[in-house]
């Protein structure tokens, strides 16, 4: 297991470096000038030149990439020249908000999706299984920004039960939780369907395996068989899905962050790309790439722990 972990971490580092170099290249290929966007019509050519120099954009591209990677290796994400604050400080402040949102979304989606999937598998081909199927496909098909808009209109604008904008006052847990409900609902709803379908499919497969049939022959209660023996194996594809799904969750979070005017890393990347704020884009991209690679590494490691055969495949 230790050898597996070392190999997996090495691979993760390579992926991060390649992703950062690729993204750095892509950002610089797109035309646009941060000075013109940020400084607006007041920008004189001298001011623009000064800003380029400050941002290091006057140096050759390769030098910029190497210098950036060197800084990242030392844990320095650079400085945001517009707000004069360290990029790391800005990104991690936003990352907190996104992680809370993503975790809240995926938690409620799992709490509902896994039992629904188990229920569908156990009561397969019954009316309620078909009902769960229709529900699951239905919520998968609806984009999260549509759910966000309609839930906002219904619960915030019409009923005025929940707030429409912001993330709540810092330090006020209940206020923050209240601001989290609608965005988490919007992002998590589609995942309920995904998880339910995935758990159902893998559960059906597992329920027909020999060791489950043997457990039944021994007369073990069905709840023990389902939740203790079958779910442990059936959950593996879901764990993998959650690991790789972090990227999708962050992109869904962008919509929720825009619709609900919440701070977050998705919106930070979007705004920074639009304003060509390269240091902030790269800082945020590095952190989200690391987050993505980290989550896939963790999910793969959990898989390897649960199923030793996986360790041999890397």
């Amino acid at each position: 297991m230790l050898f597996y972990l070392l190999k997996r971490i090495g691979l993760a580092v390579v992926i991060v470096v390649v992703a950062v170099v690729l993204l750095y290249s892509m950002i610089h290929v797109v035309p646009g000038d941060p000075a013109s966007v940020i400084l607006g019509p007041r920008a004189t050519p001298e001011m623009k030149q000064e800003l380029h120099k400050l941002m290091g954009l006057d140096r050759p591209f390769v030098v910029q990439v190497v210098s950036f990677l060197g800084k990242v290796a030392r844990g320095d994400l650079g400085m945001d020249y517009f707000s004069q604050r360290p990029v790391a400080e800005i990104v991690f402040k936003q990352l907190d908000e996104t992680l809370v949102l993503v975790l809240a979304s995926i938690t409620w989606a799992m709490l509902l999706g896994i039992p629904l999937g188990c229920y569908s598998a156990v009561f397969r081909n019954t009316f309620s299984d078909k009902l769960v199927g229709v529900f699951s496909i239905g919520v998968i098909a609806v984009p999260s920004f549509v759910v966000a808009l309609y839930s906002l209109l219904f619960f915030a604008v019409t009923l005025k039960w929940l707030p429409a904008i912001g993330a709540g006052e810092s330090g006020q847990f209940l206020d923050q939780a209240r601001h989290l409900i609608l965005p988490a609902f919007a992002i998590g709803l589609g995942w309920v369907g995904y998880i339910a379908r995935l758990v159902r499919a893998s559960m059906l497969e597992v329920l027909n395996e020999n060791h489950i049939r043997r457990a039944r022959a021994f007369g073990l209660p069905e709840t023990t068989i389902v939740f203790h023996y079958a779910l442990k194996l059936a959950i593996l594809p879901t764990v993998t899905l959650l690991g790789t799904g972090i990227g999708r969750l962050i992109s869904s979070a962008v919509f929720a962050e825009i619709v609900f005017a919440r701070p977050g890393i998705g919106k930070l990347i979007f705004d920074s790309v639009v304003s060509r704020n390269y240091p902030l884009v790269m800082g945020a991209v590095v952190v989200s790439t690391v987050l993505f690679v980290l989550s896939t590494t963790i999910s793969d490691s959990i898989n390897a722990m649960l199923d030793p055969r996986v360790r041999e495949r890397l």
Binding site: D33, V122, L152, R178, E222
Partner: protein, 530 residues
């Protein structure tokens, strides 16, 4: 298939117990202590407003965005400030008196007793000198240096008095410099102690509010300044939320999370017809100007007849109806109504004249029409405007291809320092912000701005001469004539088709009395409760 032998625990739930549980849950949710109550029930002494951006820098010498000025204007003082209302006027703020003694000298006397917080003492003429002279100091690299371009010095005569000395007469000073971003007075002692400049949090304040809290990308909280001795602030706190999307802000307002916000032009008619409960919807004229520009140096547009054909092929009423929902009025230049230099009419009427456009094209050697590229920013309103221009111009034989750009790409289209893209630029749907003096808008169309912000590459010696003269001219009527002539020259070149100044619809709750500039922008320090 038989049902498996499963023993799930059962929950007995009758209709009555379900209703009881629902009522109890709703009651719990509505408990004020838990914060789960309607937003309109929040503290009446807190004002919640939306702004379109999040302040990056709150040093008045470095800040250059309107949303930064909204905060700065509430926490600092200026000698004079914009007067809330429907006419562009100024009123005394930190100055007890101010007068222009001759074209290049302005004498001021400060009100005694205005103090800076955090123990930085009373505001003196030295602070005024420091605040204004640092903007022209090359070391600071101030983006608003141009606003004080004619400042020679500020001479201190005593503790509260001084004279602003200009290198040459500069009339816009009274409407675009002193009462605007460049007019904020900061503490010399505090700023020097902070290293000569600051960004996120000022070291001290002197206005009716102080910055209590900054949560980047989330909100800025202003609180009453306990040391403020002027007219008391209207609210205990002001919460400013940075929300770029107007539709999001509208929903935030309807949900009761905001007390004041600008709304989209597309929502104005509906909101005016059926406003949300306890709210007021109003529309203000904007200072922005939108126009279709043509690159005079592009081979396809170097012939003035082609440019004039494009002018005649653009139908302004259709654009205003489709893109601006009939809320905005046509523009006659870059100066909006109500300001010196506004033109009553244009040379080319707002309605398209296809026959004239076709005739001009044929005369220029294009009897079968011409293909042109139109560059547009990828925002719904500009895309809609671009599509209308494209559809209508096709009737005159001008076939346009729409190219959409995000802000980053768009704002470097005509910039010579960004490579050769400007050479390919043909038509561009552009929009600039402005200030309440025509000089501000006029400066971007001089020959010195060619390849910087003058993307049409319009070079007219008479324009440049008038620009210099109007800057110094004190006679209002003469200035008016000069700016009118300058806009006429632009239109006569064929490179400009002025479209609109847009409009600023706003909505606010009737529990507040907003203090707005004539263009609908908030002057937060003057907001009060109804």
């Amino acid at each position: 298939m038989s049902r498996p032998n499963m023993q799930f625990s059962k929950i007995r739930l009758s209709r009555r117990s379900f209703l009881k549980a629902s009522a109890a849950s709703a009651g719990w949710l509505m408990l004020p202590g838990l914060g789960m109550y309607p937003s309109w029930a929040k503290d009446a002494r807190v004002l919640r407003v939306r702004d379109y951006g999040d302040p990056q820098s709150l040093d008045p010498g470095i800040a250059s965005n309107l949303y930064e000025e909204h905060v700065n204007a509430a926490v600092h003082n200026k000698l004079i400030a914009y007067k809330p209302g429907t006419k562009w006027e100024w009123q005394l703020e930190a100055a007890q008196s101010i007068e222009q003694v001759d074209p290049t000298h302005i004498k001021f006397v400060l009100k005694p007793g205005i103090t800076f917080t955090n123990g930085f003492g009373e505001m003196t003429a030295e602070d005024v000198k420091f605040s204004y002279e640092r903007i022209i100091d090359p070391e600071l690299k101030s983006p608003i240096k141009g606003d004080w371009a004619t400042l020679a010095s500020v001479d201190v005569t005593d503790k509260y008095s001084g004279i602003i000395v200009l290198s040459k007469p500069f009339q816009p000073l009274w409407m675009t410099t002193l009462p605007y971003m460049g007019g904020n007075i900061i503490s010399k002692k505090a700023t020097l102690a902070a290293g000569g400049k600051f960004s996120a949090m000022p070291p001290c304040f002197s206005g009716p509010y102080v910055i209590k809290e900054r949560e980047p990308k989330q909100r800025t909280v202003l609180a009453r300044n306990p040391e403020w001795k002027g007219t008391p602030a209207g609210f205990d706190e002001i919460h400013i939320f940075p929300i770029d999307d107007e539709k999001t802000a509208e929903m935030g307002f309807e949900a009761g999370d905001l007390d004041y916000t600008r709304v989209s032009m597309s929502s104005y008619k509906n909101l005016k017809k059926t406003p949300p409960e306890n709210s007021v919807v109003e529309k203000y004229p904007s200072l922005y100007y939108v126009w279709l520009g043509m690159n005079m140096e592009h081979p396809k547009l170097s012939d003035e007849r082609i440019r004039r054909a494009v002018q005649y092929a653009v139908d302004i009423p259709s654009i205003l109806e489709a893109a601006y929902d009939g809320v905005a009025d046509p523009a006659t230049g870059y100066v909006p109504p109500g300001l010196v230099g506004h033109r009553p009419d244009t040379l080319v009427p707002p309605n398209a004249d296809f026959a004239k456009a076709k005739a001009l094209l044929a005369e220029a050697g294009y009897p079968d029409g011409i293909d042109l590229d139109l560059e547009v920013r990828n925002k719904a309103v500009y895309i809609a405007a671009g599509q209308v221009i494209q559809a209508v111009a096709a009737q005159a034989g001008i076939r346009m291809t729409l190219n959409l750009h995000d802000s980053g790409s768009f704002w470097s289209l005509g910039d010579e320092s960004k490579g050769d893209r400007w050479k390919k630029l043909q038509l561009v749907l552009n929009r600039f912000s402005s200030a309440p003096d025509p000089h501000y808008a006029a400066q971007w169309f001089t020959k010195e701005q060619v390849g910087v912000w003058n993307w049409e590459r319009f070079k007219n010696p008479e324009y440049n001469q008038l620009y210099e003269q109007a800057m110094a001219e004190a006679d209002k009527d003469k200035r008016d004539q000069m700016y009118r002539r300058m806009q006429e020259l632009m239109e006569a070149s064929g490179a400009y088709r002025f479209i609109t100044h847009e409009a600023v619809p706003v909505i606010y709750t009737n529990r507040i009395i907003p203090a707005l500039r004539p263009d609908g922008m908030p002057l937060l320090r003057y907001f009060t409760t109804a």
